[in-house]
């Protein structure tokens, strides 16, 4: 199995504060990876480096075989088409329906509107929200919003799905459903998932997941 994401001695600091210090991490194709650590430890930085929103100060970040160094903005956009990202705050477009939120991303990358909507409906079915397609996203609960965000990410059939504290704002029931949806995407669809969270309890929900701990700027894999 090839590596989907590699961090090689990656350092990153903000305003003089070292967040990552020669950190190493390898995510292979088909992996479900938990990145665990307390708030403010560098999980978001790791995710942002992974979707090429940031560049490392030192070291190499290799995403889907492409070294982040020297990538032009246009190239970054091309790589991002193969990456899905979900966030704690969902980042949904509040002036659109559930279906529009999911199909919007496809239409922007050139998929015809009719096809995009059909695929969006399928993605919503997969996350259990087929009956909410026409609703305004503002009427959804937090858990439902996060599943819309997952559908938006999955509809593009990404090779890598990055989740930055996706359950941070959710109650236990909604959290379980989100984790289950991501596990399903990984096991059934083969999507590689990197799930950043501070919640250790989630590990039980995905027994086969690899676990990385982030501490003092280092990323260490823990054998289960």
């Amino acid at each position: 199995m090839s590596n989907v994401l590699e961090f090689q001695r990656v350092s990153k600091s903000y305003f003089g504060k070292e967040v990552l210090l020669e950190a190493d991490m390898t995510v292979r194709e088909g992996d479900f990876v938990f990145l665990i650590g307390p708030t403010g430890i560098g999980k978001t930085t790791t995710i942002r480096l992974s979707y090429l929103d940031e560049k490392p100060d030192k070291g190499r970040v290799i995403v889907l075989g492409q070294d982040a160094r020297g990538l032009k903005r246009r190239d970054v956009q091309v790589i991002r088409r193969k990456i899905g990202v979900i966030f704690q705050d969902f980042k949904l477009l509040t002036d659109r329906s559930v279906l529009d939120n999911v199909s919007f991303g496809l239409e922007l990358v050139g998929v015809r509107s009719q096809v995009a909507r059909q695929r969006a409906e399928e993605a919503l079915s997969e996350v259990g929200l087929a009956d909410r397609a026409g609703d305004d996203v503002q009427r959804l609960s937090g858990g439902e919003k996060q599943r819309v965000a997952i559908a938006r990410a999955l509809v593009r059939e990404p090779l890598l799905l990055l989740a930055d504290e996706p359950t941070g704002n959710l109650d236990p029931e909604a959290t379980a459903r989100v984790v289950e949806t991501l596990r399903y995407a990984n096991e059934v669809k083969g999507t590689t998932v990197l799930f950043a969270t501070h919640n250790h309890n989630l590990l039980e929900a995905v027994p086969k997941a690899r676990v990385f701990f982030i501490e003092a700027g280092k990323i260490e894999e823990v054998k289960r």
Binding site: Q77, R80, R81, I83, F104, G105, L108, V109
Partner: protein, 284 residues
């Protein structure tokens, strides 16, 4: 194209009040520039008309000798800037004078002789028909033997050229003011619009949409605001031109260029403004 147009409409709706403020401001500013351009063209037209008939009148002394006259007739056509030379005899001069002032048609009978001097009418080449060059030519002609006086309406021409330069200066200054003000207003509007639609841009960038697709709706909006402002200004100016043409009977040449220039300027300024706003909010 559909998501781009749809996003363009959403961007407009997100900030429609400011959008109309931009359009109206652009309209007023470009109209001001248009009016100033029309005045400049009008003055230029008058000046061109005046220049068509420009000539230098070289009046000979009464005691000018045939040798001096012959010298003048041979030298003047060789001078730089001279297109043609025509001799105006006393009789021709009187004929022209009485045609222009019929009330003095008895002047020869009263005085017994023609009181007008012999002269030469010198037509300068087209590119010499300015106060400065004609002044130089007049100076050379005055220095020829037998010449009493050279007249070409220098002060009047200088005055007309000064008026034209002033109007041109005001129009140029106005162009800069309109350029900066219109760009600034559309820039501010687009900056607010882009900021209010930042979530869409963020999502678009996250899903890997091409950068141009994220920029295009806002660029389109900026260009449209400029186009509408400039278009309305052109329409208003057409009305103004119709009134002065049909009511006052004044025809100004080159107006069609101003009508075309205004919407094009609007699009150009909208393009610059929206590019700058996007660069500021989205980065380059």
């Amino acid at each position: 194209m559909k998501p781009i147009l749809s996003e363009s409409i959403r961007a407009y709706r997100a900030n429609s009040l400011m959008a109309w403020f931009s359009v109206i401001s652009s309209f007023l500013l470009l109209l001001l520039f248009g009016i100033s351009s029309v005045i400049t063209l009008g003055v230029l037209g008058l000046l061109s008309e005046m220049r068509k008939d420009l000539c230098l009148e070289v009046f000979m002394k009464d005691d000018a000798t045939p040798a001096q006259i012959a010298h003048l007739e041979s030298v003047v056509p060789q001078l730089a800037g001279v297109q043609s030379i025509r001799h105006i005899s006393k009789e021709n001069a009187l004929e022209e004078f009485t045609q222009e002032f019929p009330e003095f048609s008895e002047i020869q009978g009263l005085l017994g002789e023609i009181p007008l001097p012999e002269s030469y009418r010198i037509t300068p080449k087209e590119n010499w028909r300015s106060a400065e060059l004609m002044g130089m030519l007049a100076k050379k002609l005055s220095s020829l033997p037998g010449v009493e006086e050279v007249y070409y309406g220098g002060e009047f021409l200088q005055g007309a050229e000064r008026v034209y330069r002033s109007v041109l200066f005001v129009t140029a200054a106005l162009f800069i003011v309109v350029f900066v003000a219109t760009t600034f207003i559309i820039f501010q509007t687009l900056r607010l619009t882009v900021t209010s639609r930042k979530d869409v841009i963020e999502v678009g960038l996250l899903v890997g949409a091409p950068i141009w697709k994220m920029r295009f709706p806002f660029m389109l909006d900026g260009c449209l605001y400029g186009l509408f402002g400039g278009g309305f200004a052109a329409l208003a100016l057409m009305g103004f031109a119709w009134v002065i043409g049909n009511v006052l009977g004044v025809r100004i040449p080159g107006l069609e260029w101003v009508f075309a220039l205004l919407p094009l300027s609007g699009i150009f300024l909208g393009f610059i403004a929206s590019s700058s706003a996007l660069s500021e909010v989205m980065g380059r």
